[in-house]
Symmetry: C2
Subunit: 277 residues, 2 copies
């Protein structure tokens, strides 16, 4: 008899709820997005949906209409009545007994949560400490997939060091991005950030930070920053959907700038927030 | 109100079954094993359990006793009464609303299936066609984790090409391993296979194939094979738990050897099967 076992419980294989056969869990075979709203208004929904669509195409998941996803997001958001919401959703290739290929006819699974964002005001005022971790990820970090174990390992390492974010460093000693954020450095009058490519995610926040830089007259230099030079920057910050811009005040135990989020960081955030209204 | 959405269905976040919050699906935050039995006897259980334990330690999942896992496997296998069984199991870090770190106190989830192995006799007699695919995986392929999307993409590519397995090739043009198997080549009187390291899984089948090679007097050369040279081998085969040894007769469309599984491949399989009795 074919069997399944969930912790201690044995049951016939055929009685297994399809959710246990989700290819998300067997393989991480899916893509996801995290979106937020500011004061009742979803920010940059189209940017996220475009990236999501590119991700589905990149891993060849068919049968998911972006219009349907948009409607689901808007519908759930409206029902939630949360002004400052974090909207997470993923699509996986579907549920079926485990086999790498042979997925013809599978129906993709959609899953979404909407939760209230935590207030990060104090964190933003004080700035955060970050620590570095080797970038162990695969060669297609431009796709926002459910294969996030290297990111989890990096974040767990940061947590152990009392840090809020892990900054990933590649084999050449260059910073790619944060384990769950984009990374930015201000040197003189230039804003440095890793150029887009297969080794980093095309962060939506990054796009709007670069637009904000234009607004405040800060030159953008799309070049990677050496991890060994990072603490010598005038200012460092991360960009992430749920918290937009957060200053980094400690990098691998070394104080950055004045030890408080810098002038440009604050200016950029003010400019960024204009886009969210 | 915090909400969740499963396909079209909206429900309060608090009513979400914890299985939807499995860190396996959010992050692939877990490790797995595939074991088989031959004629009522589980093969190499201790090898698999040892690797599983190393995997749990490598990604720092605590609270899972290998003795408990062994008992669960043996118990479920015994109840199944399947002589030639495929036993799959994974452990994830647990279930909780999505957050990369902050997992203190989580209880790991265990999941297992036992199914009857398909008969692969004809496949073994005829041999298989394989195709190459870039090795896009992360830098710790020695850990058998649930982050398997690059493997899925490779297997889907092979499937489209009418092939049974994808052979992964790194940036230097060297074969690392199959997307779900170990890779072997016979040149003259030597058995070539990738040396163990962070870039390949310490395959249990590989270990027993190397022992079989000793038994049949075939010298083992732990060196990577160039993809461009592979079709010039006398024989090629893969090693995989569910099918032990399977000859490769076509490599990227080119015939290997005589176009039938080779002499050494057959000898090695006969020797290998002695270990399974």
């Amino acid at each position: 008899m074919q069997l399944a076992m969930i912790n201690e419980r044995i049951l016939p294989f055929e009685q297994l709820d399809p959710v246990y056969h989700d290819r998300g869990i067997y393989f991480g075979d899916g893509v996801y997005e995290v979106i937020r709203s500011y004061n009742g208004k979803i920010f940059a929904l189209e940017d996220h949906l475009e990236r999501f669509e590119r991700g589905l195409a990149a891993i060849d998941i068919a049968g998911v209409e972006v219009d349907t996803v948009r409607k689901r997001v808007e519908n759930a958001f409206s029902k939630s009545q949360i002004a400052d919401a974090k909207i997470y959703f993923h699509v996986t290739r579907g549920s079926a007994p485990r086999t790498h290929a042979g997925t013809a006819g599978l129906k993709p699974n959609f899953f979404l949560t909407i939760t209230a964002l935590e207030d990060k005001k104090r964190e933003k005022e004080r700035g955060i400490a970050v620590s570095t971790y080797p970038d162990l990820r695969w060669k297609r970090c431009d796709i926002k997939t459910l294969n996030l174990l290297p990111n989890v390992l990096a974040e767990r390492d940061a947590e152990k060091k009392g840090c809020t974010e892990a900054i990933l460093v590649n084999e050449d000693g260059l910073i790619t991005e944060g384990a769950a954020s984009a990374f930015f450095a201000v040197f003189d009058f230039g804003l440095w950030t890793t150029p887009l490519g297969a080794n980093v995610l095309a962060s939506v926040t990054r796009k709007w930070v670069l637009r904000a830089a234009e607004g405040v007259g800060l030159e953008v230099i799309e070049e990677s920053v050496e991890a060994a030079q990072a603490d010598k920057a005038d200012e460092l910050f991360i960009g992430v959907t749920t918290r937009d811009i957060v200053g980094i005040v400690e990098f691998d135990g070394k104080t950055v700038g004045s030890g408080r989020p810098g002038e440009w960081t604050r200016k950029l955030e003010a400019e960024f927030l204009k886009f969210t209204v």
